[in-house]
């Protein structure tokens, strides 16, 4: 019986380089990754919207000069809370299961926290066990279920991470 052979690339975690979005030269890399792996077709203006307005929230992962993963986010005021939103997260198949996605998301969330976000949110298909486990480990809860959110009829969870309140300012003696 043949085992399901998923071609995985061998690499050391230290070989992965994480880079903050650096400009137009990164845009085609992000677009190619997302177009390849995610089912939603986005126009270039969608990508531009995110990376131009919040370049500090998007990160890329490189292995030996090749872009193997990316995360694209935004943040802003939403009903009296300052909230971060994770729009796209992709790691190409041969590099999955090694913590690259977790590292990309963690960097984004840390930046959101430092920028004053009170919470972070995203939607994920209820069947996307990998994403649910990843975000669960980072402290997201499943705040809501969205019935038939995706056009193929699949439900989604709205995942939310609530940051603890910032420590009170220290009293100057």
């Amino acid at each position: 019986m043949e085992a399901m052979a998923e071609e995985k690339t061998e690499f050391e975690e230290s070989e992965i380089k994480y880079v903050s979005y650096g400009g137009e030269h990164h845009l085609p890399l992000i677009m190619n990754l997302v177009d390849q792996e995610l089912s939603e077709p986005y126009s270039i203006f969608t990508y531009r919207y995110f990376v131009y307005l919040w370049p500090q929230l998007s990160f890329l992962a490189f292995h030996k000069g090749k872009c193997v993963g990316t995360v694209v986010c935004k943040m802003g005021e939403h009903r009296n809370t300052f909230r971060g939103y994770i729009a796209m997260l992709v790691v190409i198949k041969p590099y999955r299961g090694r913590g690259i996605a977790t590292e990309l998301v963690t960097r984004s969330i840390r930046m959101m926290m430092e920028s004053g976000c009170e919470e972070v949110t995203l939607e994920a298909e209820v069947t996307n066990k990998g994403a649910l486990a990843l975000y669960g480990r980072l402290g997201f809860i499943r705040a809501k279920r969205l019935f038939h959110y995706y056009l193929n009829g699949v439900d989604a969870f709205r995942l939310k991470l609530l940051f603890p309140p910032p420590p009170p300012p220290r009293q100057e003696l």
């Binding site: 126009s43 270039i44 969330i109 499943r142 279920r145 038939h148």
Partner: protein
């Protein structure tokens, strides 16, 4: 870019446009050309009122109205028809014509099911070109009458779902922009269908007579040219026509006010089921008479024959109708479509079988039970419309009367003037709203129930204030004031009970919707325990007060021993809740002990703590103070000392087992509650054993793995202990 603009840079001659009174035309093509060559791919001109967000939102990929790169076979319905996409007759060969008609009927059924399941009407039922131009099918009586009934049916169904007005996220369902849903004379569609049915029935009798060599006086024209297939085709068509007839009748009957048509509806539902059965049985014949077999998996096809139907193009509407997602969708397979309709009929039958019990509690239980079978939007809308019509329960009972009955007040109270009190009126609206929300899909329902908590809390405070204002300082007690006081007292108690019931429902739906991860179960069961304690308390109090009131009304001078016994006995409804309480407490403590002793089922993350998760999950409950004095610190305090040794001292699950056994006899006439009690018993039994095992071995055996399954009960987990 319009269809007319040529691609080679030669614009049409515009100098011929004459100047008007206040307008002068100038050719802007060179300017646009220069702009086009000045911009590189992906570049965008932006300004103050056209920023990146606007640019992103303006573009919709694959929507042909703005994505002109999307190529279609036909760009209009007329073009499709001119090119023979929907011929009338479908084929000059009458046998093929009949086969194709059956295929169209089957595909339409599949489209209808896909629509019910959540896709747009435009991409499903109205992908049928024959339906888009119904009048031109007039020469084809069979197709015409069938399409007419389908159109009238769709319109009736849209009407029901629109009237329910809680389309939840399913607002795609009622989108009918630009679709020809209204037809003159569609209300007479059944008479047209009956005429065709009659003709085919006669034809069927004729070929049966011919096969038995009997001669019939009539000289009928056969349906099609192959006499060997005539009987089969007649039967296949008749069941399809009759299904449509009875389904249309069901909708009409169920629409009748105050549930007057429910009994008739049940008869039509039974007929529909019979016809669906015949439709399924006709599949073999329909498939075989084509000669060549179709390619691919027959189970995935949208027709019984397995062949592609003629006359459908989902892309035609994409340029005509307004918001319609431009993606290609998958129409349900014919088999799945029939399954869907069977389920729909079962669900409608359950609704039609309901007794319209004037007791609100009975309806609430019915709705909760009904929702367990996961009915779809059409069925749920019908239930909602039955429950609340014209601001009354079942269109029949004013909500004040319903509330007084639910609050165990005497019958005459329903006429009391207090119903004009603003808070009482608002309470009526809240009850109506609650009923509507309970009929929605679980995901939507939970969100709305959470929001309701605040409203019910506020109404309680308002009523309490009104009560205190009226009776706070009153020393004299006129008869009427006594009655008012009694009404307020009962209603306040009832409102509290309902509020805790809503909170209970909000929490347990989280299990059904898979919102809780295992590391959150401890706090959820703890909160559930806290809510259940209050619910049981309020329920018990309400029953005690109502007994008290009844006793006083009866003007009893002395309590008989039997009365005293009845008064001290805990009512079965409360005992039932106590079973829940035992299980909730047991699970809380077990999870806490596991966490405290062997550090499982906790999930520390890098960004936040359990306290944030508590705050998020219970935000709406906390905001409404349901219950009071419940907080994260009190949760920690309750659970921080749980150990295997403390678990060993007291087995909540054994308690639950005992209680379930005791209370079973009180529900011997209630099959639903009995069934649930049995499930609770199984959970208690399994968990008791698991707890003993964990207590004995938990700290010592690291290979012991504990997990949770909802195999016996939907919200009380069964603990599973395995060796890894």
């Amino acid at each position: 870019m319009s269809d007319n603009a040529s691609m080679d840079g030669h614009p049409p001659n515009l100098s011929s446009i004459p100047a008007g009174d206040s307008s002068l035309w100038a050719d802007a093509s060179p300017l646009l050309q220069a702009a086009c060559t000045g911009l590189r791919d992906g570049e965008l001109i932006h300004g103050d009122n056209f920023n990146l967000f606007a640019a992103m939102s303006a573009l919709e990929i694959m929507d042909p109205k703005m994505d002109s790169g999307i190529v279609r076979t036909y760009y209009s319905i007329d073009e499709a028809i001119e090119n023979g996409a929907a011929p009338i007759p479908i084929s000059p060969d009458s046998t093929i014509d009949v086969q194709c008609t059956i295929d169209i009927m089957d595909h339409l059924l599949a489209c209808e099911a896909a629509w019910h399941k959540g896709h747009s009407l435009a991409q499903t039922v109205f992908s049928c070109i024959y339906l888009l131009r119904l009048d031109r099918t007039a020469p084809h009586a069979l197709l015409h009458s069938y399409c007419r009934v389908v159109r009238a049916t769709c319109k009736a169904v849209v009407s029901v779902v629109s009237d329910a007005r809680t389309h939840e996220e399913e607002d795609l369902f009622t989108m009918v922009y630009g679709l020809p849903l209204n037809g003159d004379g569609d209300d007479k569609c059944l008479s047209m269908l009956n005429a065709v049915e009659e003709t085919i029935s006669r034809q069927l009798r004729a070929c049966k007579a011919a096969s038995s060599k009997r001669r019939l006086p009539e000289d009928l024209e056969p349906l099609q040219s192959n006499p060997n297939l005539e009987e089969g085709f007649c039967k296949a068509l008749l069941c399809r026509l009759r299904f449509r007839k009875h389904f249309f009748h069901i909708l009409a009957c169920m629409k009748r006010p105050q549930g007057r048509g429910l009994e008739s509806a049940r008869k039509h539902i039974a007929s529909c089921m019979t016809e669906l059965d015949s439709i399924l049985k006709s599949a073999d014949f329909v498939r075989s008479c084509f000669g060549e077999s179709c390619e691919g998996d027959i189970d995935e096809k949208t027709t019984a024959s397995g062949h592609e139907p003629i006359g459908f193009d989902a892309t035609l509407n994409s340029r005509l109708s307004a918001p319609m997602p431009p993606r290609a969708i998958k129409i349900l397979s014919w088999k799945k479509a029939v399954e869907y309709f069977v389920k729909l009929l079962h669900d409608l039958d359950a609704i039609c079988s309901y007794s319209l019990d004037p007791h609100l509690e009975s309806l609430l239980r019915f709705v909760v039970q009904f929702q367990k079978s996961q009915p779809d939007l059409v069925a749920r809308s019908h239930l909602q419309l039955l429950s609340v019509q014209d601001g009354k329960l079942y269109g029949r009972d004013p909500f004040f009367a319903v509330i007084t009955k639910a609050a165990a007040l005497p019958e005459a109270t329903k006429n009391h003037d207090i119903q004009k009190n603003e808070s009482i009126v608002q309470l009526g609206m809240l009850v109506m709203n609650l009923l509507k929300i309970l009929c929605t899909n679980a995901a939507w329902q939970r969100r709305k129930l959470g929001k309701l908590l605040q409203d019910w809390r506020v109404i309680y405070l308002q009523l309490e204030l009104a009560f205190r204002n009226e009776f706070g300082e009153v020393s004299s007690s006129s008869n009427d004031e006594n009655i008012c006081m009694k009404i307020f007292q009962h209603i306040l108690l009832w409102v509290e009970e309902q509020t805790y019931w809503i909170a209970f429902r909000f929490l347990i739906l989280g299990f059904e919707l898979e919102l809780y991860s295992t590391s959150e179960y401890c706090m959820v069961y703890w909160y559930l325990y806290a809510v259940l304690i209050k619910l049981a308390e309020k329920t018990h109090l309400k029953m005690a007060v109502s007994y008290d009131t009844a006793k006083r009304k009866g003007k009893k001078k002395k309590d008989s021993p039997k009365d005293l016994a009845r008064e001290s006995r805990i009512p079965p409804a409360v005992l039932f809740l106590q079973c829940y309480i035992c299980l909730a407490e047991g699970l809380t403590m077990m999870l806490a002990a596991l966490r405290n002793e062997i550090s499982v089922f906790q999930s520390p993350g890098p960004f936040n703590t359990e306290q944030e998760k508590f705050a998020q999950h219970f935000e709406l409950l906390q905001r409404a103070c349901i219950p009071d004095h419940v907080s994260y610190p009190s949760y920690k305090e309750s659970t921080t000392h749980a150990r295997f040794s403390t678990l060993a001292m007291y087995n909540y699950f054994k308690d639950a087992q005992r209680m379930v056994k005791e209370v079973k006899s009180s529900f011997s006439n209630d099959p639903d509650r009995l069934a649930e009690l049995r499930k609770l018993e199984q959970v208690a039994e399994h968990n008791s054993v698991a707890q003993n095992l964990i207590c004995r071995l938990g700290a010592l055996d690291p290979s012991l793995k504990v997990s949770f399954e909802f195999s016996h009960h939907p919200f009380f987990a069964t603990v599973v202990v395995k060796r890894s």
